[in-house]
Symmetry: C2
Subunit: 258 residues, 2 copies
């Protein structure tokens, strides 16, 4: 089975021009088929505030009203995505920037209103793996931003981590998939206060043990739940760490398998 | 030889939600392979002004400084392009939204500084017709906004009419191409004050005659020069008129051939 790497970067890299450039070089040098997924970071909040649009946060989560969705579409789908694509082209990677609407690649349901109305937020329903594969087979490198659509003309703001894992799950029909979640830490830490306590390999059993011992911290809990869910749905390996994990030399990151 | 239609719409349609929706239905119903090219209209100017970025116009032409390019990338490449793509998906057209950086499809040179420094403006150098054709062959419908790149990581603001004609010229290597320039008038008028004086067919000889008689008005001159240039470089037919020309029933528009 052919291999496919799905690399996700967050706001900390996107907002730092030097870090972004360095990351894109690492990404460009990765062997084999690959897909990039990026969030948008604080740029959208910054531009929204300049445009006089107030960011609404309820229970720590951003509410995406119509105006906020417009800003997200501009910043994630336009500014961030197209500049990444142009920079990858300069590195001779034939990148193609996408939302989930492009190539009908990621279909979502608008999140139902319960206690909170999150607005135009999408929960991924289906990844069109054959459509995405046409692009890969044609030697393009897809670059996804954190926007999907509902199939009825509505764009939807969607969590970038979820997009990465759902793409990986969808593409597992065709490829042996690995996800690389790039973040600030070197990996999942055994001791949150000790940056050198990276857990180099976590399997389902160790995860259960760590959960029992209360070692998995709050912020990491949904991320790891998301990871094991993806592994149970066909993803082979998930890697978490800083961007240096994309090089062959570095092994100081967390590799997660079932 | 297979046929390919390149349809260009301008700001007047993009800024009018009802008109845009009606146009997209007509576009969706067009038979055969097709490509959509759109400008951005006044939306970019409006958002730039909200962000406190002054629009600089010299000799009637917008100067694209770094800040203005960011707004254009947000509005053309993000907001306008992705909403068109989502709406086309709802009409069961498998659209894929592109700048010239995506799929390395349109390479430009930054316009040299002479009397005026236009800033980050691109003059199209090359259309990667094989790259664009991979998308068409994979049953995607490309939707281009008016942005290209220089291959070194720099996005460039580029005239949408020129993008349409250069794509048509480039794709003429593979297809029998027709351009449809949608604009406010029913077509090229023999008498600028008489909207019913549409010239239904213009060939090179009639064009030369009309030029001699001084009948081609100032605004139309560069458009028609651009058209005949494209025809001389392999484009088969160019149509100018309102969006009704995309239906089979209407023949009240200007068809231009050599």
């Amino acid at each position: 089975m052919k291999k496919l790497s799905i690399v996700k970067i967050g706001g900390n890299i996107i907002e730092d021009k030097v870090a972004l450039k360095a990351f894109l070089k690492l990404f460009a040098n990765m062997q084999g088929h690959k897909i990039l997924v990026h969030g948008g970071g604080k740029r959208a909040t910054h531009i929204a505030s300049k445009l006089g649009i107030e960011s609404k946060i309820i229970h720590g989560r951003r509410i995406t009203d119509a105006e906020t969705l417009e800003v997200i579409t501009m910043v994630y789908g336009g500014l961030v995505n197209k500049n990444i694509v142009a920079q990858l082209q300069a590195l001779h990677i034939n990148a193609i920037g996408l939302t989930g609407a492009d190539a009908n690649s990621i279909l979502s349901d608008k999140r139902p209103v319960k206690e909170v109305d999150f607005g135009f937020v999408g929960d991924v329903k289906q990844v069109a793996h054959e459509s995405v594969n046409k692009l890969i087979e044609a030697d393009f490198t897809p670059v996804f931003c954190a926007i999907t659509h509902d199939g009825n003309g509505q764009l939807l703001n969607t969590n970038a981590d979820t997009i990465a894992s759902q793409i990986a799950v969808g593409m597992s029909n065709i490829y042996e998939t690995s996800i690389y979640y790039c973040f600030e830490l070197d990996g999942v830490l055994r001791d949150i206060n000790d940056k050198s306590s990276v857990i180099k390999h976590m399997d389902a059993k160790l995860y259960a043990d760590l959960l029992d011992q209360g070692i998995i911290a709050d912020g990491m809990l949904p991320k790891l739940e998301n990871c094991f869910d993806a592994l149970h749905h066909g993803v082979k390996t998930i890697n978490m760490g800083n961007t240096a994990m994309l090089t062959q030399e570095n092994d100081n990151f967390t590799r997660i398998t079932l």
